[in-house]
């Protein structure tokens, strides 16, 4: 399966995985796709779940498929990576959904050792084990039973409360045996609830996500977004647009672009950027120049991160381009593709006024003629919450979005995910390993 297909699917919305009360298997329309992707490249598939813009519903599917599938044919090194990804996914997915996935594994009778270990590790090491046991007792019990086997689980718990017996042998993955000892008998209705309910598991999950939020994208949006708090590059560009084109600002711009480019991976290939600097990107009032500034900021950074990059301007004049003129993205895209790039991206505010609908027609035409070059749409927004409902001139096109400089890396990784050359695949795999490490570190702290 190509990298483009895999990332394209993982970044697309799908209905959530559903498990009926008496269903023998979960409802998941794209199960074949996921199983095929796992069979093709288990490690690449697992790591892709931590990639940019991957939807939470897709991460749930990946976790389910990883635990349901056999790892028997994998070498130790690959198993370790998969184990780490499972551990991270089980923490970043909502705990209720994780429990649902475990239940789904029970229904399909998936009892691989790695799945049992993952379940026990999730429960035994969960920071809110007591609260989980109190609020989701029945499900937790079912998960214990499935992971250990019904009789083993019950015997294990009985041994905990039977003073005559020697202390039960405790599974090796437990960091704090005493906490499990306090909770497990209650889960099996052999003891009173734990005296200290501990932290609310829902709140803990929200707090964890807050902690992770600034990891690969802009930290949570400030209360008031202004021209000056969307990253250094765009702030400097806005100053330049407002008439401050002096040496100090130009140097600061160059410096900020260099620093940001150093954080991004390098693309061994030709990148064509269609930059929309038409009149609509000017904006007005306090947002004047913000949109075009962020688009230009992304362009300037990406120009430094590939072997060859060519910018195809739509409207605009000068450097940095002053917004003016109409938005003829269709012709600019054709110009870009005639340059034979490995990847083409359209950086725009999403408003097309030069014969609206032309871009959608061209994109449809490109698909019909089997144009191999991936073409992506990069939405430049003012805030993270901007609605894109009426700003999709070609809704069929793969798209990503950014409002802050901190989103640039994600945008670039998303773009690279569309390219299928070996060099890019290697680079992406390296990046995803870094993502995995970063997740692990952040979760541990």
């Amino acid at each position: 399966m190509s990298q483009k297909t895999l990332y394209g699917h993982l970044t697309s919305e799908q209905p959530p995985l559903v498990l009926g009360r008496k269903a023998v298997a979960p409802v998941m329309g794209d199960i074949d796709f996921h199983e095929q992707a796992f069979a093709g490249d288990p490690v690449g598939y697992a790591l892709a779940a931590l990639g940019p813009s991957v939807k939470p519903v897709q991460q749930e599917r990946v976790l389910y498929v990883l635990l349901k599938s056999s790892w028997a044919a994998l070498v130790d090194e690959h198993r370790q990576v998969l184990e780490r990804v499972v551990r991270v996914l089980a923490r970043i997915i909502h705990p209720d959904r994780v429990l649902l996935i475990f239940l789904a594994l029970r229904r399909v009778r998936a009892n691989h050792k790695h799945a049992s270990r993952a379940m026990l590790e999730f429960l035994a090491n969960h920071p809110c084990l007591e609260d989980l046991a109190l609020r989701r007792r029945q499900v937790v019990r079912e998960v214990f039973e499935h992971a250990l086997g019904v009789n083993t689980a019950r015997g294990w718990v009985k041994s905990m409360i039977d003073e005559k017996q020697a202390p039960a042998s405790l599974p090796r993955f437990r960091h704090d045996p005493e906490r499990v000892r306090a909770v497990a008998p209650y889960v099996f209705k052999l003891h009173n609830p734990p005296s200290a309910p501990g932290q609310n598991y829902l709140r803990e999950h929200t707090a964890l996500h807050k902690k992770l939020s600034g990891l690969f994208e802009a930290a949570s949006q400030p209360k008031t977004v202004t021209a000056m708090n969307r990253g250094r590059i765009s702030a400097t560009l806005v100053q330049i647009y407002r008439g401050g084109e002096n040496r100090e600002l130009l140097d600061a711009l160059d410096q900020a672009v260099r620093e940001e480019a150093a954080k991004l991976p390098f693309f061994q290939g030709r990148l064509a950027l269609v930059l929309d600097a038409s009149e609509s990107t000017r904006g007005y009032g306090e947002r004047e120049y913000c949109n075009v500034a962020q688009s230009v900021a992304l362009t300037k950074v990406l120009e430094r991160c590939c072997t060859e990059c060519k910018v195809f301007m739509v409207g605009g004049n000068g450097d940095p381009p002053r917004p003016e003129g109409m938005t003829d993205m269709a012709t600019a895209l054709l110009d870009a593709l005639e340059w034979s790039p490995d990847l083409a991206a359209i950086v725009t505010d999403g408003y097309e006024n030069r014969l609206s609908g032309d871009l959608a027609q061209v994109v449809r035409g490109l698909r019909e003629m089997g144009q191999p070059t991936p073409v992506c749409f990069c939405h430049s927004k003012f805030t993270a919450k901007d609605s894109l409902e009426l700003r999709r001139p070609a809704p069929d096109m793969p798209e990503t979005e950014f409002w802050h400089q901190a989103d640039f890396k994600n945008v670039f990784l998303y773009l690279l995910g569309q390219v299928d050359t070996d060099l890019v695949k290697q680079s992406m795999a390296g990046q995803m390993q870094e993502h995995l490490r970063a997740y692990e570190q952040r979760i541990q702290t």
Binding site: E279, S280, M326, T331, L334, L355, S356, Q361, E368
Partner: protein, 331 residues
């Protein structure tokens, strides 16, 4: 007495006066580049103020500038919180430092109390669907005269059936505001032709680019934007496909794209030609201001008001009548 006027006497239809069409959904705007008639004409936002409402239906407007003349845009209206929103049924001249009381203004917000004040000057232009009715009711001193038409319009949009234009203008404002980005005013533009589904539904000419720029948002979003929104509901979005030979590659696709654009240019040119053949009857009840004259004009499908400076036209707001608009909206 009515004076017959050929449309070509009203404006210069030379192709060089028109810019490239811009299109979004069913709405097309063709920029018009007329003469810049200088600072004599004060623009509607900075040069024209609503001073007060003295009893419902009585709106006082003023031109705060010492010199020059303000041409009140046809069907201008004001929206404020905690006040009954009003709009004017006609255009007028207001000289420097002059104040004029419009006693034939109409309320566009049924059953809401409070008077508009000078504090906010956020204005709109009546939606296209209401303009014929409003212009015909000029001179009628009854502030609730537009409520039935507004109620009907709200009904057509599936909104509450009341004479509240706010339901549409404020309730749909996020959607209407998007037109501002989808269609852009061009530098030096002094007017525009608006088309719905390839049929002309409005001609707007102003004396200067500044005047047009200040009028632009209100005109586009609230007058023609509402019309385009209804046309989209009626006809749905155009799902036509570009026709080309896949084997011809990128060059073939480009040729097909250019052919499609040429086709649209031709559609626009035909529509403009058709519009230019309209025979207008000019009302003889003209309003005068020094050498300027204002008249109401009407043809079989259009009506509006125009301002002449001698034989030159300096301002025009001509729009499709109800029947012509609905025919265009149905495509």
């Amino acid at each position: 007495m009515m004076i017959a006027k050929n449309c070509q006497e009203l404006m210069d239809f030379s192709p060089q006066r028109f810019g490239e069409p811009q299109q979004t959904g069913p709405l097309t705007m063709v920029p018009y580049y007329g003469l810049d008639r200088g600072s004599r004409y004060t623009p509607p936002l900075s040069g024209l103020k609503l001073s007060k409402v003295k009893g419902y239906g009585n709106v006082e407007m003023k031109n705060p500038h010492g010199e020059g003349v303000a041409i009140v845009p046809l069907h201008i209206g004001y929206i404020q919180d905690g006040a009954q929103n009003h709009c004017l049924c006609r255009s007028a001249f207001i000289g420097g430092k002059q104040e004029i009381m419009f006693r034939d203004a109409c309320c566009v917000q049924q059953s809401i109390g409070g008077y508009l004040k000078e504090k906010e000057q956020w204005f709109f232009i009546l939606p296209l669907q209401l303009r014929e009715k409003a212009l015909r009711l000029r001179g009628v001193e009854e502030y609730g005269k537009l409520w039935p038409a507004i109620t009907e319009l709200n009904q057509q949009f599936g909104l509450k059936t009341k004479g509240h234009l706010d339901y549409l203008l404020c309730g749909e404002r996020p959607r209407l505001n998007q037109y501002r980005n989808q269609i852009e005013v061009m530098p030096g533009q002094t007017g525009a032709l608006f088309l719905i589904n390839g049929h002309v539904v409005g001609l707007e000419l102003t004396p200067t680019p500044e005047y047009f720029k200040e009028l632009w948002s209100a005109l586009l979003c609230f007058c023609y934007g509402v019309a385009a929104m209804q046309a989209t509901l009626k006809k749905g979005l155009d799902e036509s496909k570009i026709e080309f030979e896949a084997s011809a590659g990128l060059a073939g696709l480009r040729t097909a794209l250019l052919a499609r654009r040429a086709e649209l240019q031709e559609t626009v040119a035909t529509a403009v030609q058709e519009f230019s053949r309209q025979q207008f009857q000019q009302d003889d009840k003209q309003e005068q201001y020094v050498d300027l004259a204002m008249a109401t004009v009407e043809s079989a499908s259009f009506m509006g008001q125009v301002v002449f400076d001698g034989s030159d036209i300096v301002y025009a707001s001509i729009f499709a009548k109800q029947a012509a608009y609905h025919a265009a909206a149905r495509g």
